[in-house]
Assembly symmetry: C2
Homo-oligomer: 218 residues x 2
DNA sequence: CCTACCGATCGGTAGG
DNA sequence: CCTACCGATCGGTAGG
């Protein structure tokens, strides 16, 4: 029961925001009365904290795989972002929730994001800076800003998948396909803006139509 | 007076969201009573529409400059994004407002964004696709996805300027400097992920330590 | 632009 | 997990 409340709260907080969600609405979802909800969670604020804590812990569970990817050598960056994309793909509400927290409680969200990102972010930054010295990473990359950009891109892509269709409304209704394309382009942008010469540069002009169909999944 | 209401509403909707803002709070800001506000605007919803309409009209005012930049030849893309950045820099609440609209009313926001972006977005997309044919644009760029990414990046950078400090908390408190770096990196990413060979590539390996020193200031 | 007031709903408590 | 109920606040109206 406590879990059903958490699931409903997560969905509603993500979709309508904290202020836009009433305890009554959550109770209606799970079929109980307000006092029953307040037996499981001390207050609305307490419920919000539980929702965030659950999100953080889901991420912590994921961390080992991300860290493993980060140590994978040359393809480190791409593998890390693929792991991150998988995390959001599992439940896009996670991205929306993060986005809401960032705009609703900027300083608190910054701190929490810092704690949660620190382990893998510092690894990545270190790795990129080494790449700069050894020459295969562009010298003009602002590493911290680059990483922040890619995180914004990841969260933004999943939180606002609807945006894509602004430009290409002719794409299939299935937003799954849309998100896939969007993520692929995020990875491509991240990579090609980082490396001095991109692997994809050995593409000839003959295959301009597109070699990769889903992703480059070679 | 009507204007003071609009200004307060814009700020509060941007910062705390529509549901998180009470008419009373706006009235307190401008020093009137609720019925007076409802004389100027028919309802809370009506006020929200006015806020959005004002944002759209501010953008329309800007449009000519953006279109002019889009026709500037080789530097088209960069100039367009510099114009867009200027628009958000004038008032970051604009970015927050857009972001809120996108998560709160996805389909409505998508439609409105489509209308507002169409004129310059189609110019840009066309121009990039031509660049592909003539060979100076990478063949593997997913043009529509790329544009969506850059828009997300622009809005996200101004809406969540606080994010940057997650990675580099040692940076100056002045978020102005932070945003500047962030925008610069957005432009760099956008450009270098687009062109087959970037202008910045003529950097030699000798200035790898960093041309700019505002960076992580070793 | 105001006073006075409305029904509805908010988060939360008492008490079992 | 419930019924019953709380004060506070919500958006909005009547009437001037």
């Amino acid at each position: 029961m406590k879990d059903k409340i958490l699931v409903s709260a997560t969905r509603r907080f993500a979709r309508h925001g904290y202020a836009g969600t009433s305890l009554q609405a959550i109770c209606d979802d799970v079929g109980i009365r307000k006092p029953s909800l307040l037996y499981h969670y001390p207050s609305k604020e307490g419920l919000r904290e539980a929702v965030i804590a659950h999100l953080v812990s889901a991420w912590q569970t994921r961390l080992p795989q991300v860290l493993a990817a980060a140590n994978g050598g040359a393809r480190s960056f791409e593998d890390v972002f693929i792991e991150v994309a998988e995390f959001f793909h599992e439940d896009p509400n996670r991205a929306r929730l993060i986005l809401r927290e960032v705009v609703d409680h900027p300083q608190q969200a910054r701190q929490r994001l810092g704690e949660v990102m620190a382990p893998w972010a510092s690894l990545l930054v270190e790795s990129i800076k080494n790449g700069k010295k050894s020459g295969h990473i562009r010298a003009d990359v602002d590493v911290e800003a680059w990483l922040a950009d890619v995180v914004v891109l990841m969260v933004g892509t999943f939180a606002a998948a609807e945006l894509t269709s602004v430009v290409s409304p002719n794409m299939g209704e299935g937003s799954d396909e849309r998100v896939r394309r969007q993520v692929a382009e995020v990875v491509r942008m991240a990579r090609s803006s980082l490396y001095r010469s991109t692997h994809a540069d050995n593409e000839t002009e003959s295959d301009q139509k597109r070699t990769r169909n889903t992703e480059e999944s070679t």
